[in-house]
Amino acid sequence: MTDVPVSRIRNFSIIAHIDHGKSTLADRLLQATGTVEDRKMKQQFLDNMELERERGITIKLQAARMLYKDQAGEEYVLNLIDTPGHVDFSYEVSRSLVACEGALLVVDASQGVEAQTLANVYLALEQNLEIIPVLNKIDLPGAEPERVIQEIEEVVGLDCSQAILASAKEGIGVPDILESIVHLVPPPRDTVKEPLRALIFDSYYDAYRGVIVYFRVMDGRVKKGDRVRLMASGKEYQIDELGVLSPHQIQVDELHAGEVGYFAAAIKAVEDARVGDTITLANSPAPEPLPGYTEAKPMVFCGLFPTDSDQYEDLREALEKLKLSDAALSYEPETSTAMGFGFRCGFLGLLHMEIVQERLEREYDLELITTAPSVIYRVTTTAGEIFEIDNPSQLPPATNREKIEEPYVAVEIITPEDYVGTLMDLCQTRRGIFKDMRYFAQNRTTLVYDLPLAEVVTDFFDQLKSRSRGYASMEYHFIGYREDALVKLDILVNGDQVDSLAMIVHRDKAYSVGRALVEKLKELIPRHQFKIPLQASIGTRIIASEHIPALRKDVLAKCYGGDISRKKKLLQKQAKGKKRMKSIGTVDVPQEAFMAVLRLE
């Protein structure tokens, strides 16, 4: 690698909604610059986690260094810093945007701007990034570049006179994009002579080399063998390996201001090298770290329990391993009367939660029961103490409570006009506080609500999608804690209180939630040989009750003409179902019942 002048470096990222073609465009750029040979190209190079590829979204960011000779024959180094495409990871997005001077805003020419894209564009504008609009998929019959350009201008307020019409799939517009990056995105500031400050924008855990840290040098230079200090964690490491991503790792001896690369330094877990932390030299540190570091805090919690109690240790080991590469994941042991031993886990948001669950089940082959997601409540006792609780069972008795506060988020929804009514209705029923409604472009409306996060984590996104036939998109961010009239709703099965079904709900909704829950449980808990009462209560007051009648028969009439396979399958299914059930007293409760809280309308 030759030394590159700072003036010839361009650092950029791509902002796009899921499915709008970000990964395909990244692939094309890698091909067009000869970074990856055509024959070695596997689709969507940047998304290399199996799960990501299946969902077509990027969860973990990646980076790629490309060499590009522009039309005037000048050589440039382009660093593409990929961003995760989901609001759960908006902090990571903001850190990778800080590492760039420009961004491509990729919008599907037949779809238009989505809420999530908008949120990321705002993040980019805050960092003063040069934004280049790219209208993708213009080759598709439904493409309406004119309308979408108008929409970008009106909604985002971006000048679209230089917008590029492209089709990443067909390779249309790719040369224009490369030229624009070189000529519109400014070079990094030349601060090579200042003390080293490098920004960590991603890291992952490698079983052999420890944590691999992805960073952008903001000031100064860093060499292989340097002893570096991470300014937030205070830890020091010797750099064993330094390199660039092309997109495969290629070792180099030195990187300077403006460059993007990776290093390995026998770091044991990613939480020791968190995204946003500043790297400096241990013997001549910078006086100030780079601004904007925060520790990603879990917002959504749920209990994870192995179906088979023998798998508890396996689950613990799996969580330990995941934690090595996922600093935002938190977990602590939890015991539940209904579910036995498991863990209370904290996540950045719903997608993060889903990803972790899936990885545990898929990569670690665990069968899990997941409790309904919950949030952190802040409880003030009459004695003036303040507790943060993430589990309804930790709530002090009502007589000792002064107040309960819950986290609120600002939700921004973009939807076609037809669904405004039903989505407003959804926000209202979820205790939303209307803030704003804006009509923009053709047939597109923005709705802004303040909502309790607890209402957003329970099925809100699915409801949004189903009520809008998939057209609406949303984004949310935390805005603070607010006091509400919250109560603890208990569920009793056959007289036994079930911890895992307890909920903290708003007083006004307690009755309807309690009723819906016992009715749902009545459907989901199979009949037993005795009658089972189901009750919902607040304190000692029963607010809803139902019962499951006793089982009278459990027999199959006939094996038809010697075809016993179906009867056997039914019995196997019944047997398997029994196995997956958890006993509460003498009642066997299937896993779906614990999930019932999630699916209440």
Binding site: D563, I564, A575
Partner: protein, 402 residues
């Protein structure tokens, strides 16, 4: 004899049991009853016997399938099930029996059963079947109330039942069975009792009582929900089961299997083969066979079945079936054997297996649903409670061994 040990599997018995039974599926029906999800072909109300090209073709293919089968021992039981086998002319049934006789031989005194439906046959037909050696008839009565028959999509009336039994009697047939269904939509306990009493009055040697099972693909399955109006509640259908057991046993019938009753000496020998988990041939569309430790269910539509027989003749396609593992064989033996009131002898299993089974059923022994006699090693479900909760007991045993 099963040689399963406590840890898993130890080799299958070396001597294979002789196959001496055959089930033959005759898929044709006038219409499809609303509860039925069998593999059948609907012919309509007019055409049957030699007038139906479909039947002629089917019998030809069936004959080929039989002829392509490896010959085993002479048959001791043959069961023509359906469908509605009485839509076959005696000559057509004769062709099938000839094919079976040619391939396997039919032992003297073999039980040859034929399912027949009211209003689908004449006295002459009965005499024709009889002349071919059919010696057991099973009449699909289902209910004695026109309203219930109509609601279930049956194509016959109450009057047709008496006509049919009259024809059997006139043909000199003593050994016949009646099928009844409990739990039909709108059926009351009183109506069920009436049906049972009328059936008893007709003096059959055998009665089968089936509790309606809602199959999702059927008209009933799409229309109704189990245990919900207009279907009788589980409380009522469980009571129907108990009533059948009380009335039929007091009338001298022996409750020898979960759904079956017989006068002494008249149990169905063919069906016992299934329950004792012994091997049998199956021929025809949708038919299941259990030969050489392999179970195979033939394709459920005529077209696919014809292609399958074509494959059989060319030596291509899946014609062998699935090998039943030792563990599955154990589970099947329990699942089938416990349907019989006499249950099964645990002496057939290894001591470890026996111990495991006994541990598994212990709570049910306490509860009075299971009886174990240490001397004979016989394990039985009690009648009616053990029978009524047989799936609860069996699913526990399944979990024990999987």
């Amino acid at each position: 004899m099963l040689l399963v040990n406590g840890l898993g599997v130890e080799g299958v018995g070396l001597t294979e049991e002789m196959v001496t039974s055959a089930y033959v599926h005759i898929p044709f029906c006038r219409r499809r009853c609303f509860y039925c999800d069998f593999p059948i072909s609907v012919l309509g109300d007019r055409i049957q016997g030699e007038a139906s090209g479909s039947i002629v073709q089917y019998i030809e293919v069936l004959g080929r399938e039989i002829a392509l089968t490896k010959p085993t021992a002479p048959l001791e039981t043959i069961f023509f099930g359906g469908g509605t086998p009485s839509l076959l002319a005696p000559s057509q049934l004769g062709l099938i029996l000839d094919a079976l006789a040619a391939q396997f031989g039919i032992r003297e005194g073999a039980e040859i059963s034929l399912e027949i439906d009211p209003d689908t046959f004449t006295l002459e037909q009965v005499q024709g079947y009889q002349a071919l050696g059919v010696n057991r008839f099973s009449l699909g009565v289902q209910a004695f109330q026109d309203e219930l028959l109509h609601r279930a999509g049956r194509s016959h009336s109450r009057e047709d039942i008496f006509q049919a039994v009259g024809d059997l009697r006139q043909g000199g047939i003593v050994n016949f069975s009646l099928d009844l269904i409990s739990g039909l939509p709108g059926q009351t306990l009183t109506e069920w009792e009436e049906s049972l009493k009328e059936a008893i009055a007709l003096a059959p040697t055998h009665i089968s009582c089936y509790d309606l099972v809602l199959e999702p693909v059927t008209a009933f399955g799409k229309q109704y929900e189990a245990g919900k109006h207009p279907l009788p509640s589980d409380e009522i259908t469980a009571q129907m089961y108990r009533t059948a057991r009380d009335l039929l046993t007091s009338a001298g019938f022996e409750h020898y299997e979960i759904s079956n009753y017989a006068q002494k000496g008249w149990q169905c020998r063919h069906n016992r083969v299934y329950w004792e988990n012994r091997p049998y041939w199956g021929f025809g569309m949708g038919a299941a066979s259990y030969v050489g430790g392999r179970r195979l269910t033939r394709p459920r539509t005529r077209r696919e079945y014809y292609d399958w027989v074509e494959g059989l003749s060319l030596g291509t396609g899946e014609t062998e079936g699935d090998v039943i593992s030792e563990c599955d064989r154990l589970l099947e033996t329990l699942m089938l054997g416990l349907r019989l009131s006499e249950g099964l002898k645990l002496a057939n299993f290894s001591p470890e297996i026996t111990q495991k089974i006994l541990t598994g059923v212990q709570p049910y022994i306490q509860q009075g649903w299971v009886i174990y006699s240490p001397h004979s090693t016989r394990l039985q479900l009690t009648d009616p409670d053990g029978f009524l909760f047989s799936n609860t007991i069996l699913s526990d045993l399944f979990n024990l061994f999987s």
